[in-house]
């Protein structure tokens, strides 16, 4: 048993923290302008922070990045978990050789295109079709809410090769960013995570070589779930970062501000807010690290990832809201930089499976493991 980080993981966290601290001066502007400079991605890569090896390594990096910019953490998490993980698990040697080095160096971004207008939590209901035609597949359909949709150089796209087969027809494909027949929609205007580029995608008779298929026909949902299970640890880590930053900001404010002749922190009611925030932060981190270390050992971790993602995302939202409350009216002022976290945090309860989906996964596991 060891509740501390190893010296290697602690050093990685320190590097990520230094990088994140470097963003503090500009993040409000990046949020305002809905912009994430491409060089940030290559800088992350150069410091080994874009696709670190292992889920615990990834978690400590994402937590630190999210303290300053949850959107940077999101982009890094997609690269490592939603794109890197399925490529490593299901990609052919040629696919891995073609894409992994470019993703790892930050030369290109990847994206994960599963969600459709009528297929959110119920991913098996997707309608995008891939029809085999000789030595190619022909892709037709639309995707929505694809993060990195405008910037990605490669997409993992999920489509059905047999609409009658339901979820058993779902298949994954690697689609180049410059493929003919790919149209990227206008940039979505989201409530938070505004530096991240979110778009709809349209595929019109997009021809793919057979070699662009990732995994087998009908294996698509397995590919997606493999990625999502790992990515949930990433979202949990990102959420933990938000939750932790909110604790620090709330404590700093409560120490600095005086009302009725004493520091805010000395009022019992404020102390209770701070205390509950710290407990939720610690639980979020513990669950995230539990899921990450379990995966890193090669053991079953899906239920732990679901539990961590659900719990940490709720902690992020609760702490952002409580931190704003501690700040009073100042928290509602954009210039104080707290309301951004509340906006950014909100999506963590939605993507990579809503809280409700995570609850079902947790409950199913609990029922199945009860003798």
């Amino acid at each position: 048993m060891n509740f501390d980080l190893s010296p290697e993981h602690a050093a990685l966290a320190a590097r990520a923290r230094a990088f994140a601290d470097g963003l503090r001066g500009t993040i409000a502007q990046l949020d305002d302008e809905a912009r994430l400079p491409a060089e940030h991605v290559t800088q992350l890569a150069a410091q080994g922070l874009l696709m670190p090896e292992g889920s615990l390594a990834s978690a400590v990096v994402l937590e630190e990045l999210a303290r300053v910019s949850p959107a940077h953490a999101l982009v890094a998490s997609i690269q490592a978990s939603l794109v890197g993980v399925p490529l490593r698990a299901f990609g052919s040697a040629a696919q891995q050789a073609e894409w992994l080095p470019r993703l790892a160096s930050g030369e290109i971004l990847g994206a994960f295109a599963l969600t459709e207008k009528n297929a959110g939590s119920d991913a098996g209901a997707l309608e995008t079709q891939a029809k085999q035609d000789g030595d190619s597949y022909v892709l037709n359909g639309e995707k929505v809410m694809i993060t990195n949709g405008g910037t990605a150089g490669v997409f993992i796209v999920f489509a059905t090769v047999d609409p009658a087969a339901g979820s058993k027809g779902v298949t994954a494909f690697l689609v180049r960013g410059d493929a003919a027949g790919l149209t990227r929609g206008p940039r979505g205007r989201m409530m938070g995570m505004r530096p991240a580029d979110v778009r709809a995608l349209r595929f019109e008779n997009l021809r793919l070589p057979l070699s662009a298929r990732l995994g087998e026909e009908g294996q698509g949902l397995k590919v997606a779930l493999t990625a999502l299970n790992v990515s949930r640890i990433g979202v949990a880590a990102q959420s933990t970062g938000i939750a932790a930053e909110m604790v620090d900001r709330a404590v700093a404010w409560a120490r600095g501000r005086r009302q009725f002749g004493q520091e805010l922190s000395k009022f019992g009611g404020v102390g209770e807010l701070l205390s509950d925030m710290a407990v939720d932060r610690d639980i979020a981190r513990l669950m995230t690290h539990e899921a990450a270390t379990t995966r890193d050992r090669g053991e079953d971790f899906a239920h732990l990832a679901a539990r961590a993602k659900w719990t940490a995302s709720e902690a992020a939202c609760a702490n952002a809201d409580r931190c704003l409350q501690v700040h009073g009216g100042w928290g509602y002022d954009v210039a104080t930089g707290i309301e951004r976290y509340l906006r950014d945090a909100r999506v963590t309860r939605l993507y990579e499976g809503t809280s409700e989906m995570q609850k079902l996964l947790v409950a199913r596991h609990a029922v199945a493991s009860m003798s």
Partner: protein, 395 residues
């Protein structure tokens, strides 16, 4: 060594051993102890024989010297089956025997610990009718008279008070001294002027005995003073740090038992043509219980691990105690809800869990005190970090 939250094989063995003991010996009797308010003397004697009276006592005094992790696991397992027994064992070890191990003179250790480890119950007496969370307000007085102290006052909420052979008791040696005027004593029931007052009729943990103690011109040998004069508040607070992990473990045991019963029932009972758990609101209750049990366990293990490693753990112990106790009442509440009417009758154990859980939010520091401790520590840590930054900047 890399991060790893799993139990070692040795710790898992302790857990399994206690679980087996509880399932075989205590589970069949726990409901009766509760319903008939029975102090389970036989079970306590059996536990003493198996080493449970010396869990934190070094081997040279007859103890088994569990580390804080093994200790917490043992209390969790006891708590699953009988919260009443669990609290008596917790109080006996954490706040009865431990302060003697930690602060006792060699003579005191020789005099009390072998007796304690072989079956003499220990207790802890801080609270008074007018001093609960605000322990510094205690009024029980201790006046030096030659080689004795004369104690006068009333203590209450003393777990094990009526059955204890040694009670670590706090009294005021300096009427003006606030927290610094408090001194700890080892009081034994044979002392003149010591008497056990009324037994409390409690909502839960009814297998445990809770009493008032009356001290009337009670002459305590100066040899029984634990630590120095004025050191009592510090002894009480450091003792409660360890006690909090014990209560966290007990509360976790209740939470886990309630969770298990809730899930089991949801798997067997059918309504509207489906198993209960197949109804989404019930599944969500199960999920919520699951994560609270898991979170309580992680917090408890972290606090115990830090204590075992000799790291500061006051905030961790408070978090574990706060969270686990609230998880216990939550889980018991939800377990009753899943059982419906069956949850409200004594045929099923969940109403007992609910009554037992409730006190864990109160004793060894109410939730409000834990939150106060945590908030203060957060501010202290932030101040320390600021000071470190300033120092670095100066360099």
């Amino acid at each position: 060594m890399s991060t790893d939250f799993r139990l070692s094989d040795d710790h898992a063995q302790v857990r399994d051993m206690v679980r087996e003991l509880c399932a075989g010996e205590f589970a069949p009797q726990a409901a009766r102890w509760d319903q008939e308010t029975i102090y389970p003397a036989d079970a306590m004697a059996q536990l003493a024989e198996l080493g449970f009276f010396g869990l934190l006592v070094p081997e040279e005094y007859g103890g088994v010297a569990y580390d804080p992790i093994a200790y917490a696991l043992a209390l969790e397992e006891l708590g699953r089956v009988s919260a009443g027994v669990s609290v008596m064992i917790s109080v006996h070890n954490s706040v009865g025997a431990w302060p003697i191990v930690k602060y006792g003179t060699e003579e005191q250790k020789q005099r009390f610990l072998p007796a304690i480890t072989s079956g003499m119950v220990a207790a802890f007496s801080l609270s008074e009718p007018g001093a609960g969370s605000d322990a510094g307000a205690l009024r029980c007085s201790a006046v030096r008279d030659g080689d004795h102290y004369v104690l006068n006052g009333t203590k209450n909420w003393v777990t094990n008070g009526a059955v204890a052979g040694a009670i670590v008791l706090f009294a005021r040696t300096d009427p003006a001294g606030g927290n610094k005027g408090i001194t700890a004593f080892i009081v034994t029931p044979d002392l003149p002027g010591f008497s056990v007052g009324k037994h409390e009729d409690k909502m839960g943990i009814r297998a445990s005995v809770t009493t008032e103690l009356a001290l009337q011109e009670c002459r305590v040998p100066a040899l029984n003073r634990l630590g120095d004069e004025g050191q009592g508040f510090k002894i009480a607070m450091s003792t409660l740090d360890g006690g909090r992990i014990g209560i966290a473990a007990q509360a976790l045991g209740i939470a886990a038992a309630a969770f298990d019963e809730g899930v089991r029932y949801a798997k067997t009972r059918e309504t509207f043509g489906k198993k209960l758990y197949e109804h989404q609101p019930v599944a969500f209750m199960i999920a919520e219980m699951d994560r609270r049990v898991a979170a309580a366990r992680l917090l408890m293990l972290r606090a115990a691990w830090k204590r075992a490693e000799g790291q500061p753990h006051q905030i961790d112990a408070s978090m574990a105690k706060l969270y686990a106790s609230e998880a216990a009442t939550y889980c018991a509440h939800r377990a009753i809800q899943i059982h419906g009417g069956y949850g409200y009758v004594k045929e099923y154990p969940v109403e007992r869990y609910y009554r037992d859980a409730r006190v864990t939010e109160i004793y060894e520091g109410a939730s409000e005190i834990q939150r106060l401790v945590i908030a203060r520590e957060l501010v202290r840590q932030a101040e320390a970090a600021d000071a470190a930054h300033t120092q670095e900047a100066v360099r």
